[in-house]
Symmetry: C2
Subunit: 153 residues, 2 copies
């Protein structure tokens, strides 16, 4: 039997795994991943070459499986209650470069190649509202007028 | 009255704010931020100079306020049910460089300066389990034996 017994805590066993070891198949990892009580896991999208963190959204297992098989990022929209193929309205798609679980398998980090802005406001990244102890500031401007972005649909 | 009326949807109004505008104080933004039903918000930690995404954890308002005032990152441990000053057991602290909310104020991105490994396994980043459609692989090795890391406490 593999030392990665799926009935034991798989991700606990992976903590001591090396880079040259053969791991269980992705489906086994997905069975053990820690989707929350709504069946969702947070997914962070990072532009693969610049390192910029673009956004954080949620995936259910179906969205994650579709993302891995099609290589086009698909989230789960909590407000709409359905799969959300990033860019389906705006055209601002994310091509998947790679995906990784964290140590306790409750978050996914996606390396992506983002077409245009990731943010619905037309900004490249959703993280544009800086805060310190006292003050806040807007740190980036839209690349595209969001009215134009969504007029494409 | 400011056009950033705290009784309206503050973050909706900020979507069209410019980089040179004076925003409401941080406390007003924290009042409007979207902590979840458990009072928590996901916080992504990114190494400020290399761009590496180190980890994702959760903060309550108290943890976020402490982080902004002390400039040392403090999360909320869901398993322990209390504030978790990163590095208090391992010595592997995170100094805060900057913090930003995303467009809908339900996620925080922290630029940090991480001392040593961020991950409890001794790896620099928690995101070391790559998955594609079929296969998984470990992508990094521990910098430090985790037994040594936690023996310091």
């Amino acid at each position: 039997m593999s030392r990665f017994d799926p009935h034991a805590s798989l991700f606990k066993a992976l903590e001591s795994a090396g880079c040259d070891e053969t791991l269980p198949p992705t489906q086994t990892l997905l069975d053990a991943a820690r989707f929350n009580s709504d069946g969702l896991i947070p997914a962070i999208a990072q532009q693969h070459d610049s390192g910029e963190v673009l956004m954080m959204a949620w995936m259910n297992r179906e969205a994650l499986e579709e993302t891995l098989s099609t290589r086009r990022v698909c989230y789960y929209s909590r407000s709409r209650g359905k799969l959300w193929r990033k860019g389906e309205s705006s055209g601002q798609q994310q091509a998947l470069v790679s995906a990784a679980f964290d140590c306790d398998a409750d978050t996914v980090l996606l390396q992506v190649d983002q077409t245009g802005p990731a943010c619905h406001t037309g900004r490249r990244s959703c993280f544009y509202i800086a805060v310190d102890h006292e003050k806040a500031a807007i740190t980036s401007a839209p690349l595209i007028d969001p009215a134009t972005l969504y007029a494409k649909r």
